[in-house]
Symmetry: C2
Subunit: 138 residues, 2 copies
DNA sequence: CTGTAAATGAGATTAGCTTATCATTATCAA
DNA sequence: TTGATAATGATAAGCTAATCTCATTTACAG
């Protein structure tokens, strides 16, 4: 599944991807994004750079970036998946009920795991705040 | 939309529902449930009481119970909706990655809203823990 | 008991998101 | 420059959850 690689000194390196303007565009959008973006948002934004960009291509690009660990999937109930750079550190999200955009929320109360019943093994958790973002609240 | 009513001394009372064994079964299952149940789980459980129970009927029963406020919807990313009695008070959920069942988690750290960026208006929040439930962890 | 209309159940249908197909285009090693 | 082949884009197809259709059954007021 199309995997970009930066190791360049070995013949064993698997080169399964090529550099294209559509992938670059998707990557660039995510690079500069301040919040998690859905495929549709990515498509809209990246289309401005690459005319005629298709949805399938965005899905493929996103799949590749997830596979290489450069971005992560953000799951919010009732919402399509969003994607954001994986190097942001542990944090959570805010979902605006009006404009439907997702935002990052810094920090986390990590004694959350203590809430779990005895004998339950907590591996991860997710916190989502809902309401109105700054723009929509005014 | 099929609304059961218990007020019986007024002619203005809207009677839009009849008492049936399938609705009773669904209600009874939810009554005794210790955790949020999906439509499939409800169908399976209630089918033992009412032979031949159909999915559509469960959806309709659940819809009515939500409408009358007796149960609430529990949304978990990537999971079908679960339902639980509405009188449980504020709490959150644990999703077992192995058996795929959802469980209740008592309590809540309600300073969560403080995590939101300035000017954001937080109306509600949801916390979901992931991992292995007691049964699956052993 | 009876008639009427709500409720049921089987299956078709919709809706939203994601993946697969395939002819065409474009990358890149040689 | 060129050839193989990965990537693209349009769209069909898939998936899952939930709703709708409609002939039949059933509740229940009178």
């Amino acid at each position: 599944m199309a995997k970009h690689t930066e190791l360049g000194m070995d013949k064993l390196v698997i080169r399964a991807s090529r550099k294209t303007k559509q992938r670059d565009a998707v990557r660039a959008i995510l690079e500069g994004a301040q919040r998690p973006l859905s495929v549709d948002e990515l498509l809209k934004a990246a289309s401005r750079r690459v005319k005629g960009l298709g949805v399938a291509t965005v899905y493929r690009a996103v799949g590749a970036l997830v596979a290489e660990g450069w971005i992560e999937t953000v799951e919010i109930p009732g919402e399509p998946a969003r994607y954001e750079r994986a190097d942001k550190g542990h944090h959570h999200h805010f979902q605006c009920e009006k404009c439907d955009r997702a935002f990052d929320v810094a920090g986390c109360l990590d004694n959350l795991r203590k809430l779990a019943p005895p004998r339950f093994r907590v591996k991860q958790h997710s916190v989502t705040l809902y309401g109105l973002c700054a723009a929509c609240a005014s």
